[in-house]
């Protein structure tokens, strides 16, 4: 494992022969971004199609509680954050299926509950607030090698899942009944997709933080819509925009001395603005 990461680091050194990519912590940050950004964008395309941006935000904010539980129990917050995110995703899908309430109302209830629970636990524990900073804004430059491996595995898992489920998810996003008549197991897909989103969101929090994590999923997919006509071009455009935003954002944050996660999201937002303007001009 060490040697695998080592060779990836030297590959980054060769491919990015710039100042900012020289320190080891920067190499780690770049590799983390190369793992997380494509996974987030790949999940982001069906997520936007499904109009689930709010869902992903709710999962992101469940990290408040997830981290607090981890610190309370004395286990690594990453573990409890991911586990709690999965739990909230599952609970939202379960409740949504059993009530007449609209999905944004259900998500809204969970959204505020998980934040309130997290804040309550954290406020009761002196000294926990400092811990939380890294999760609020992300801490890409402090990513550990274990976390890197986890992110790499996540990327592979997400692509394996999408290889199997992408078409079916898109079909469900167009019309549930229609998808069902085509033999798609709608319910199983909804649940599995929600869990995959939760995995990606909670992992990506390490990179850009709770407040910005949804942007990593939604903004590249939204920008891709400005340039793409078909499903294939939308997917690949989102992946390219995500990786480009990640690398440019890390580089810019190094030279400007700004927070890495925020800079990455700003670059992605710039991609959105430019593609949106291009679309408007192209239309005329």
């Amino acid at each position: 494992m060490e040697s695998l990461l080592g060779s990836l680091f030297s590959a980054i050194g060769v491919l990015l022969p710039f100042d900012f990519a020289e320190p080891l912590f920067m190499k780690r940050a770049i590799l983390a971004m190369l793992f997380v950004a494509p996974a987030a964008a790949a999940v982001g395309v069906p997520l936007v199609h499904f109009r689930m941006a709010f869902f992903s935000d709710a999962i992101g904010h469940s990290a408040f509680t997830g981290v607090a539980i981890g610190v309370l129990l004395g286990v690594h917050p990453l573990l409890t954050m991911v586990a709690f995110g999965l739990f909230v995703a599952w609970a939202i899908v379960l409740v949504k299926g059993r009530t007449e309430l609209s999905s944004d109302t259900v998500i809204g209830v969970f959204f505020s509950t998980v934040i309130a629970l997290g804040v309550a636990v954290i406020s009761a524990q002196k000294g926990l607030t400092r811990n939380l900073q890294a999760y609020l804004y992300g801490d890409l430059l402090a990513v550990s090698e274990v976390e890197l491996l986890w992110m790499g595995i996540l990327l592979l898992a997400v692509f394996a899942y999408l290889l199997f489920a992408f078409n079916k998810i898109m079909l469900v996003g167009i019309h549930e009944g229609f998808a069902k008549s085509m033999g798609v197991p709608v319910r199983a897909l909804e649940i599995s997709f929600a869990l995959v989103v939760a995995l990606v969101v909670t992992t990506a929090i390490r990179a850009v933080g709770i407040l910005l994590v949804t942007a990593l999923l939604v903004v590249p997919a939204a920008a891709a819509r400005n340039v793409a006509r078909g499903a294939a071009s939308a997917f690949w455009a989102a992946a390219v925009i995500a990786v480009a935003s990640g690398l440019l954002g890390i580089a810019a944050s190094y030279y400007l001395d700004t927070a890495t996660g925020a800079t990455v999201v700003l670059v992605a937002a710039a991609f959105f603005v430019v593609t949106a303007l291009g679309r408007e001009m192209f239309r005329r």
Partner: protein, 248 residues
């Protein structure tokens, strides 16, 4: 409870029309047949061995698609989503391209194939849905007709191609219709629904003024008496006006 006491036969190879006022549960019944809404009781498909085995293939044309009109997805993508194993992001398989071309030509809409789904008119979208539903040669086609005037009407659908396709393929067609003149002309049998089955049977015997009044309830009643209210026009809600059109 939306529907109760539903006991009906849909016969092989026939056109069965499902009629009833708004909120009667017509779409819900289709969804129940598809297994999308929970229901008690039994839905049984009977067929002899020569017509194939196992669960029947059900084609479904929803009333409308409530999807994101901005979605980057072409008609060809839409076909490929359900006809190829690998993700459409890696392109379309030759098989999915061929079946899309053939199916779209069948409904007279071959020219739409590379258009984005979100840019289609209601009528065009309905043709796409019908082409997709017919692609796999269904045993049963469930067609939820949109309220006429907005999209392609049942009359146009039948006049253009549905009647011909049906006479070629002989699937069982269960049609939700809002236009009783279409039903009168094209359906073999009618099921009148208003939260329960009001009446059912052969079209000519079932679509009587009494049954229509019973099914549409006070709306139809109101309208019948409206011309006699003394000043030559009606004060009925628009729904009643639509019912009058259905009755002629």
């Amino acid at each position: 409870m939306i529907l109760s006491d539903i006991n009906a036969d849909i016969r092989c190879g026939e056109v069965t029309a499902l009629v009833g006022p708004n909120g009667a549960g017509k779409t819900t019944l289709l969804l129940a047949i598809l297994g999308l809404v929970p229901c008690t009781g039994e839905i049984r498909f009977c067929r002899s061995a020569e017509h194939g085995e196992g669960a029947p293939r059900i084609g479904y044309v929803p009333q409308r698609l409530d999807f994101d009109r901005n979605a980057p997805m072409t008609v060809q993508d839409f076909f490929a989503l359900s006809s190829q194993r690998y993700p459409v992001v890696f392109g379309h398989s030759a098989k999915s391209r061929r079946s899309a071309r053939e199916s779209m030509a069948r409904v007279g809409a071959g020219h739409l194939i590379s258009r984005p789904l979100g840019r289609l008119s209601g009528g065009e979208l309905q043709r796409v849905l019908l082409a997709l539903a017919l692609r796999d040669n269904p045993d049963i086609l469930l067609l939820d007709e949109p309220v006429s005037g907005v999209d392609l009407s049942g009359e146009e659908l039948f006049g253009d191609f549905l009647g011909q396709i049906h006479s070629e393929s002989r699937f069982s067609l269960l049609l939700v219709s809002h236009d009783l003149s279409v039903v009168g002309r094209h359906a073999d049998r009618v099921i009148c629904l208003n939260r329960r089955i009001v009446c059912q049977g052969a079209t000519t015997e079932t679509l009587t003024p009494e049954n229509i009044a019973a099914m549409y309830g006070s709306d139809a009643h109101l309208f019948r008496h409206a011309p006699a209210d003394g000043h030559g026009h009606t004060h009925d809600p628009p729904a009643a006006g639509r019912d009058e059109r259905k009755r002629d």
